[in-house]
């Protein structure tokens, strides 16, 4: 049996190619992310200082709400023409399916963030801090946590009744540590980090990401079958 990485990469490439050909999906998700930011602006603004304070929270929630739409989509592709059966019949180990979906979703959400975050920075009048590379790291770690659990839970939710409700219902409470850590680390980095708090939150993010990466890889076999 092969190592599985060529298969995982093939699945990711296939998903992204399908996503690119039906651009409507990605564009709508981006548009939704921006709309959510605008709504937060109305809820929190128009005072510039208040907006700046609330920016990390608003941005992370906008990313979360938009990204969650991507996860069910990634399995919908397989369910449409019974392609999941075909996928399960290949002799490659099961984790390749999870790895492939994870990679595709990382690319999808990464691209989403690359568009939504700059828009948020403009809308919320955020000044870029000198330690912006660290901020990028926080964004990457936070997004990784969201995508890991999102991809995992969508494998179940997309095949249940009421999947639109079930995915966020399962996912959001589980993601509270990630969202909290991402928001707080971003906030600390944006406000000169007086208490050196960002480091602790970044460690928490790394820990969360690693724990759930391992746990979801181990559990995926049980979730994709049946």
């Amino acid at each position: 049996m092969t190592s599985g990485w060529p298969q995982a990469l093939a699945i990711a490439a296939k998903d992204l190619r399908i996503e690119r050909r039906s651009k409507a999906g990605f564009n709508s998700v981006v548009a939704l992310g921006i709309t959510i930011l605008v709504l937060f602006g109305f809820a929190l603004g128009p005072d510039a200082a208040a907006l700046r304070d609330a920016a990390p929270g608003a941005l992370w929630l906008a990313i979360l709400f938009a990204a969650v739409l991507a996860f069910n989509r990634s399995y919908q592709v397989e369910l449409d023409a019974g392609a999941l059966d075909a996928l399960l019949l290949y002799p490659a180990p099961r984790w390749t399916i999870y790895a492939g979906k994870l990679l595709a979703n990382l690319a999808f959400v990464g691209l989403l963030i690359a568009i939504v975050v700059p828009v948020g920075i403009v809308l919320f009048q955020v000044t870029i801090p000198p330690r912006w590379p660290l901020l990028l790291l926080v964004v990457a770690l936070g997004a990784f946590g969201i995508v890991t659990l999102g991809t995992f839970y969508a494998a179940m939710a997309s095949r249940s009744r009421a999947r639109e409700v079930l995915l966020p219902l399962l996912l959001f409470p589980m993601l509270i540590p990630v969202i909290l850590a991402s928001m707080e680390a971003s906030k600390a980095l944006l406000t000169a980090d007086l208490m050196r708090a960002a480091g602790a939150w970044i460690r928490l993010l790394v820990g969360f990401d690693l724990v759930f990466l391992v746990a979801t890889f181990l559990a995926f076999d049980h979730v994709i079958e049946g």
């Binding site: 095949r159 079930l166 219902l169 399962l170 409470p173 540590p177 746990a215």
Partner: protein, 238 residues
């Protein structure tokens, strides 16, 4: 899809009703001990006595969810349905205890802090835990196929349990970094005995409830199995 050839079995009720009576009596006894013997608290007066239900309920919430974790792991290892049914029963009881903990915490918080809710570390992480297991129970409700439901909820139960300490840690940091007061956590030794007695009493009640829910779940499964066998018109149904 393919049904088991043998009907699932219903566990014998045995001496469990006696255990239930014992659990109820010990709860009454422990509550009486707490209400009658412990003096009124300096600051809180008799309000403190809510602790004799609130704290044991909180502890037993964790016990119940620990049972979910163990039963889920055992299900994935053995694929025996009884572990799945046990996990489901423990999750139901755990969610009720969790809800009770939250409600009592709020009732206690109103006169103590002057608000129904405060973003206290323990209260908040208890709420997050509640939401995680509401998701678990919702998943069970939304998946009809038996094997799927068992496998998926086992995975969700295990991941949820793994997340409990992480949630607690993150909420605690969030609180301390914002430098707001946390709730008083030390317990006066006067109250320790009653608290312990009540903890054991609530533990017995929890065990009894989980057991009865488990029996009920097994009976429901047998009924489901018989309906299936009957619908297929086979004679192998018993």
């Amino acid at each position: 899809m393919t049904a088991p050839t043998a009907a699932p079995s219903i566990p014998a009720t045995g001496r469990w009703p006696w255990f239930g009576a014992f659990a109820l009596l010990s709860l009454i006894g422990a509550q009486a001990l707490g209400l009658l013997t412990s003096p009124a608290d300096r600051d809180m007066g008799h309000l403190q006595k809510i602790m004799y239900v609130h704290v044991p309920a909180a502890w037993m919430t964790f016990v119940a969810f620990f049972v979910v974790l163990v039963a889920s792991l055992r299900y994935l290892m053995t694929r025996e349905e009884r572990h799945d049914l046990l996990a489901a029963s423990a999750a139901e009881v755990g969610a009720v205890l969790n809800g009770l903990t939250l409600a009592l915490g709020m009732i206690w918080g109103r006169p103590t802090w002057g608000v129904w809710w405060t973003w206290d570390a323990r209260l908040t992480s208890t709420l997050v835990l509640f939401l995680i297991f509401v998701g678990y129970l919702a998943l069970r409700g939304f998946v009809d196929e038996r094997d799927r439901r068992a496998q998926w909820s086992a995975a969700v139960g295990i991941l949820g349990a793994i997340n409990v300490p992480i949630v607690y840690m993150s909420v605690k940091w969030w609180r301390t970094l914002h430098q707001l007061q946390s709730s008083p956590s030390t317990v006066d030794p006067v109250y320790v005995l009653s608290l312990r007695a009540n903890a054991f009493a609530v533990l017995f009640v929890t065990i009894y409830f989980i057991r009865r829910r488990y029996e009920a779940a097994c009976i429901a499964r047998v009924a489901e199995w018989r309906r299936e066998a009957f619908a297929l018109g086979g004679t192998s149904g018993q």
